[in-house]
Amino acid sequence: MEFLSPATWEEALAAKSARPDAVPIMGGTDVMVELNFDRRRPAALLDLTRVPELREWAPDGDRLRLGAGVPYAVIVDRLADRAPALALASRAVASPQIRNRGSVGGNLGGASPAGDAHPPLLATDAVVELASVRGVRRVPAREFYLGPRRTARSDDELIAAVLLPAPAGPQQFAKIGTRNAMVIAVASFALALDAGRRSAGTGIGSAGPTPLRAPEAEEFLAAEFDWAGGRPPSPAVAQEFGALVAAAARPIDDVRGSAAYRRHALSVLARRTLGWAAADYRREMAACG
C-alpha cells in the first residue's frame, strides 16, 4: 500500500488526481477501523494531516467556511454560536478522543447514513466545497448524498470545506442511542428554522440508505409555524410534523434497532425539537424586542 503525504493543498489535489483510488485519511476514525478489521485494502492512502488549510475556518460572505478537517471538538468549543445544530451533533459524536480527531470532512467522505454531521448540514442547507486539479465546485448538501455511501464527489476530488449559512433562527439536533454516550445513532434528527425566509429545514440520520430530508414536514411547518410570535405549536401540529418526519424516513431493521422503532423515535424527536425550537424562537424574539 502506498502512503502519500502531501504538505500542501495543491500537492494533495495533484496526488488525488494522479491516484483517484487513494483513500484520504485525516483523523482516521473511520478509515483506520476499516483497515484494522481488514474490511478494506486500499491501494493507497492520502494523508491530509499536513495540509493546514483543512483545519481552518473563516467567514465566507455571510456564511462560515469550515475546513473539512476541523475536528469536532473545535466545533463544539468554538463554533456553537455560528453553527448551533452542527455543534450539538458534534457533541454527540463518540468520545472526547474521537472528537479530537474526527471531522466533518470524514463524515462526508465516508457518507455513512449514521454520520452525525449529515442531518445538520441538510437542515441548514449547507454547501459542500469540492476541489480537484480541475477546479473548485460547490454542491449543496441536499444534492450531495446520492446513494448508500455514494456521493456527488468525483474520484479525483477532495472535500475542502463546508459552507454553513449564518443561523437565521433556532437550530436543534437530537440523536437516539442505546447508551448515554459513545454510540452510533439509531436515528437522528436536525431542525433549523429560518425566521427571515419563514422556512424550516430538516435532516434525518441513520434511517435510510442516505441521510434524508423530510420535505413535506418542512413545507407543513413553514405554513403552520407562528413566525410572528413563536407560539408553542399545538399538539395537533406537533403530531403531524412528527408523523411527516417519520414518513420521510426509509429505515431498515438492523442490530441497532428496528425500522418501526426508528420511525417512532423520529416522530418523537421531531415533536420535541420543534417544541425546543419554538421556545428558543420566542426567547430570541423577546431578546430582540
Binding site: 436543534q172 437516539i176 442505546t178 447508551r179 448515554n180 437522528s188 442490530v255 441497532r256 422503532y261 418523537v268
Partner: protein, 820 residues
Amino acid sequence: MTTPTPRTPVPVHSPREAPSPVHSPREAPPSPASSTPGGVGSSPRRPDGTLKVTGEFAYSSDMWMDDMLWGATLRSPHPHARIRGIDVTGAVRMPGVHAVLTHEDVPGEKRYGLEYRDQPVLAFGKVRYRGEPVAIVAADHPETARRALDRVRVDYEVLEPVSDPVRAAFDPDCPLVHEAGEDLPPAHPAHHRSGNRVRYQPVRTGAFADGATAAEVRALADVVVTGEYQVGMQDQAFLGPESGLAVPAEDGGVDLHIATQWLHVDQSQIAPCLGLPPEKVRLTLAGVGGAFGAREDMSMQVHACMLALRTGRPVKIVYNREESFHGHVHRHPARLRYEHGATRDGRLVYATAEIVLDGGAYASTTAAVVGVASSLGLGPYEIPHARVDAYGVYTTNPPCGAMRGFGAVQACFCYESQLDRLAAELGLHPVELRIRNAMSEGSRTATGQRVDMPLPMADMLRRAREMPMPPERAAAGPVDVRALPGGVANTSRGEGVRRGVGYGVGLKNLCFSEGFDDYSTARVRLEVVGGEPAVQVHTAAAEVGQGLVTIKGQIARTELGVERVTVLPSDTRVGSAGSSSASRQSYMTGGAVRAACLAVRARVFELVRAAGLVGDDHPDELLGLAGGKVVSGARGVLVSLADLLGASAVEETREFRHRATEMLDPTTGQGASHTQFGMCVHRAVVDVDVDLGLVKVVALDAVQDVGRVLHPQQLAGQIQGGSAQGLGLALMEEIQVSGSVIRNPSFTDYLIPTILDVPPMRIEVLEHPDPHAPYGLRGAGEPPTLSSTPAIVAAVRAATGRPLSRIPVRPEDIVGIERD
C-alpha cells in the same frame, strides 16, 4: 534469544493508604487492624496500578521477541458444515510463510476441553460454530499471515445450523451437533447426557419429591404468578484480546507466556495435544487485560505452541477485536419458565423453574453452569415445595461457558422478577415480601444444603430500603442533558421522563462446587536482603485485574510481620492455584499464602527455640512476629529476623483446600454441593424516557456481606464493577445471534456501559465472618453481578408499567414495539 517483555518481580512494599469509598456500618464487627502497615484490612496501592494507569503495563499482546513469527487463524465461515477437504498449497508457497497447519498436524490428542474434551484443536470432520479454527499459519509478518489464510482452500458441505436451544433440548428429531460414533469421552453418568443435552439436572423438594404434579401443589397457594423469560448472550468484553507468545525450548518442550485464568488447567490440556509430558510445557502468566470467565477456556494456546514447535521460532498470536468475539466463550443465553405460588399473607408455598441454557457448539463449563443454575435457580428463599429442571444443550451457536455469575445470573433475573410480580399481586412492598421469605443462617437451600454461615438477608434488605434516596429531578431550571436518559445526544429536556425504583437480591455459590477437588498452592520464602527481612510469595494464581497480587502481599505482611514483600510472577514452577474464577482466589490462594506463612512462622519459632532464646523458664511463651522481629507476649522483642536468619532462608510450600462438597443427586438434586454462599442486595433508581425507551440509571446502591474486608478499596472496585456488568446485561449488553451467526462482533455495536451510564454508587459492606473461611472472608466478585440486573429492570418496570421479561431491555421493549 531475547527475553519476552519485562516480567521482573513486582515489589509490593511501601504501601500508601487509599481512601475507602465503602461505608461500613458500626454494628458490624470491625476489621481487626493489622499491626504491619499494608497488611490485611488496609488499602495498600496495587503494585501494578501505576503502570496500568500510565499505560506502561505490558499486557500479553505487548510481548515481543526479535526473531518471533506471527500466527493467524483461519476460521469457519459457516456455523455448521462438513469439511470435505483442506488444501493449504497456495498458503505454503507464499514467501514469508513458515508453517500452515491443520488438524492432521496436531501431534497428540486432537481434542481438548476444560471439563469435557470435545473441542478440536483444529476442526476435523465438521465445524460446529462460525469462527471455529480450521487452520493456522505462522509468517514473518502479521499481514502476511492473514493473506496466507486467504489462500487456504476449505471445501465445505454446508449443513443446517442447530440454532434453537429449546428444540435442541426437547425435540428428538433435532439434528445432533455431535453425532454418534464421534469417539468422544464418556460423560459423567449423573449428567443425563443424551441427544444434544450436555446435562440435565432436576431438583425436587417437598411434595415434588414425592411425585406431586404442579396442579396438586398449585392448590396449596392463594396466589400464583407465572412468567416466561429470556436472557440474551452477554460477553465478558475484556479489553485485552486473546494473545500469547510460545517459545520453543532446547529440551524439545515449549515455554508459553499467556493471559489466562488458570495456568495449570491450560497446561493439562496443552501437553496431551502436543504429545508432550506436562513438565515440558511450561507456562508463565503474561499481563492479563481482563477475564471475567472468558479466559477459563483456551483460545490460541495450543495453536501458538504447535507453530513454535514446528518452526523452531517463537510465535506470537494476538486476536483482533472481531476475532476475539468469536474466540472466547460467552455467558449462556437462556429461556426460562417460572411459576411461584404464595399464601395471601405472602409466604411462598411452591416454585417451579424450567431453565434451558444454550451452551453452543462445545461443552466448555456448561455442565457446571447447569449445576449452579439448578441448585440456585430459585434463589435465597425458603420454599417448601420446589421443582427445578435445568438443561444445558449443544447448538451450533457460539460456545458459551464461564462468565461472572456462572448460571446464577440468568436465574436471578427470573426469580426476582417473579417476586416483584407476586408482591404486586399481594399488594406488598417488594422488600417486605422478600423479607418474609428470606433465607438466613440455618436455612436449607432447594438442594437441602444447610446454610452454615451467617446470611443476614433480611437485615441487608432493610438496609437497602433505608438508604437515602437520590434527590428528585428538578422540575424547573436549567437542564443538564447528561443527567437525563439519552445523555449528550440531547433527546429530552425532561419530556416523557419517569422515575422508578427497584430491588434485587441474589445468592451465589463461591469457590468450586459439586465435589471438585479445589485447592491452591503457595510457596513463601523468608530471608534477609540488604540487612532487612524480606518475603517472597510465589503462586501460580492468575492476576486478572482483581487485585490478588495486592492481597497476597497483605497476607504475608500480616502473618510474618514483615513489610517488604515481593510477589513473584505466576508460573507453573509452583503447584496449581486453581482458577481465578468463582470469586475464589482470596479464599483459596489467600488461604494457601496464609498457610505457607504460618508454616514459615513455625519454622522461625523452631529456630528461636533452637537458638535457646526461649529459656526453660518460659516453656509456654506465646511468640509472634512484628516489625521484622520475633516478639514474646511476656518479654517483648527476643531477636530481629535479620540476626536470627543471617544468611539462611526459610521456605515453605503449602496446599490449601476448602471443605469437601458433594455432587447433586441426579434424580432429586439434593446435596451439599456448595462451599460458601455470597449475597448482595441492590436498590436501583432509574429515570426512563417512556416515549423513546431510553434509560438513565440514577442510583445503584448496594449492601453486601463479605465476611471480612481484606482491602476496602479493591472490594469497592469489585462491587462497582460487578454492578456495572449487571447494569450492562439489564440495559445494553448483548451478542446478537441470528442463524447461529454473531451480528455485532465489535465494540461499535456490542455496547458496554460508559461513565455516563453508571451512577456513583453507595455501598454498605457488612462483615459477618464465615467460620469456615480464612479470615472469615467471603468471595466478593460475583454477587453484585446477580442482583444489579433485576434491580434495574424492576425499576424500569416501575417507571413504565411494562412487563419486561427479556434482558437486555431494549428501547423497543419499553415503548412497546415488537422486534424479532
